[in-house]
Chain length 341, copies 2
């Protein structure tokens, strides 16, 4: 059998079809239910999700006029307030449709959420032009970030022009988010210069812009110091893009101050990086294709009866010290591939 | 063809055979070259590495009398000095053979090393009973951690009884290291209580013991405060093991003070956890088997001519916005599995 791309959407059931049509019309509840479908890890949902994605993509084509902004920062930086302030401005002053998605690197042991309260940004969520997607609470960071890619596509297909992806920047998640967005903004509290010494380097390397938040009241001086610190640090770093020099700005999300200036820099970035962003998205897509390939292939393999049988046998050998995980894995791979011949 | 486990060592060439024999005799240079072979990502080296591992394991059996101690901590905690001080004590006072392995979560963009200087612990390295393996500088965190598992086995087969695995604790690497060791020790500088606010939770969740280092001179009071902080924090956390309550200790690696007390707690852990550690290693082995399975299966698939051909085609469709990474990946998986029938 020769496999053709259109297989997926041909298999779509009528419920998914009407979901997709709702989404394309810009209906928020259809968008929400589509995202839930795409994020599902049930294998029966997977085929439907593929069908939905393909149908939606066929109807809209690949949009390149959207802009994807990542906002990373430590807990306490004021990310929610900043995004709410920025989002409201974009909706009200510029008439833009804005979608906000959260990627939460949940605690590996407890599964607890770091981003906290799931019903945030209540004011922005009330804007007719805005869509706020609460953060999922389960799953691995890798898995969530993979879905983020599809969630962005769904939001774009539903008419959203600015997609804001929020994450806690603690060393890994912001790198993953950077691989799904056009621009990464690092938001920090005024004192972050010292506090984040240890994690700073990794985050700074991927930041296109640093914004020192809470530059109001007693913290104005601290914010100025932090901004100078970041400016110096950025000067010492290797540039991420040849045509963009990362900028540092201060703002007060609480008082809606200088949010315009921050957006001004984002606009400058879009202009300066116009051509590079096309290539950047191409490379991001390729990277996600291979990453998804890995997940999907392993999911199929783990359901293979031969693999399951051999795994039991290997478990005994591992327990008796007769094998190592690496050798046991090699046996499993060989079994899987032999059985399919 | 029915695949049998002994395939690997039957295919071993004479060079690898003499390497393995040297390693089993406790020869340090053979151990070093064996580790290099096992860490290699060249597919031609992979089969040899499997053969070596299997041969060595067949000769020695699975050792359960070794102890694997992970040491994680932020940059500046004094990990090298601590491990050197502890290692020398174990060699000289207890006549133990000690191996030190470093897992370095290199910066994702620049590939730069966080653990820094690769020729450290010069004094410990001079001990006849010690073996210090400098940290590799390339590769992903996941890949390195996977190899760590095999490196530990090689060190054990070469006669080392205490294996110390060192890593920078920045939120991800210590969790991975925790999955390869029996006990995880978090080493912190006296002021870490505040500095590490943001990353503390993740690390604390997997720590079996917290050691506040640099408890000497002017820092004694700060160390005492930090220790109290950690003690309170640990009381609020869910226990990692039912039969072990995480302890907090202070020491001065520089002045070799209270290192004995730290080791006393490690000994207590070994006694209290005796039975649980067998089950723990079994679960660790299973987890690494599936993780290795994933890596190895994807490596085979990526070399498949059909997959390579289809990937080029998918690349074009992605570029034209006719597909998404997820759908393109599904096509690749289907192609790979169809072609093997």
């Amino acid at each position: 059998m020769i496999f053709s791309k259109t297989n997926f959407s041909m298999m779509m059931n009528s419920r998914t079809r009407s979901l997709a049509d709702g989404l394309l019309r810009g209906d928020r509840s259809s968008l929400s239910r589509s995202i839930t479908l795409v994020e599902s890890t049930l294998s029966s949902h997977c085929a439907e999700a593929n069908a939905l994605l393909e149908y939606v993509l066929g109807a809209k084509g690949g949009r390149t006029d959207s802009f994807r902004l990542g906002v990373a920062g430590p807990p306490g930086a004021g990310k929610s307030t900043f995004i709410e302030s920025l989002g409201k401005k974009l909706c009200k002053d510029q008439g833009k449709r804005v979608a906000v998605i959260a990627v939460d690197p949940s605690s590996s042991r407890t599964g607890g959420s770091i981003l906290g309260d799931k019903t945030r940004m209540t004011e922005l969520a009330k804007e007719p032009l805005a869509y706020v997607r609460p953060s999922p609470t389960r799953g691995t960071l890798g898995g969530l970030a993979q879905h983020t890619n599809d969630v962005i596509l769904l939001c774009e297909a539903s008419g959203y022009e600015i997609i804001i992806v929020e994450t806690v920047g603690l060393g890994q998640s912001e790198v993953m988010v950077d691989e799904t967005v056009d621009m990464l903004l690092l938001l920090t509290p005024p004192a972050a210069g010292d506090e984040l010494q240890a994690v700073k380097k990794g985050i700074m390397e991927v930041a296109d812009m640093v914004v020192v938040n809470k530059a109001d009241g007693d913290l104005v001086n601290a914010a100025r110091h932090a901004a100078t610190d970041y400016m110096h640090a950025l000067q010492l770093m290797r540039r991420k893009h040849p045509s963009w020099r990362p900028r540092v700005k201060m703002c007060s999300s609480l008082h809606n101050q200088k949010i315009d200036e921050v957006w001004g820099v984002v606009d400058k970035f879009r202009t300066a990086m116009k051509d590079e962003l096309v290539e950047r998205r191409r490379l991001q897509n390729l990277r996600w294709m291979w990453s998804q390939f890995k997940e999907q292939l392993v999911a199929v393999a783990k359901e293979d009866p031969g693999v399951i049988r051999t795994a039991h046998q290997m478990e005994t050998e591992l327990l008796q010290g007769k094998s190592t995980p690496r050798i046991a894995a090699a046996s499993l791979v060989q079994h899987f591939l032999e059985n399919r011949k």
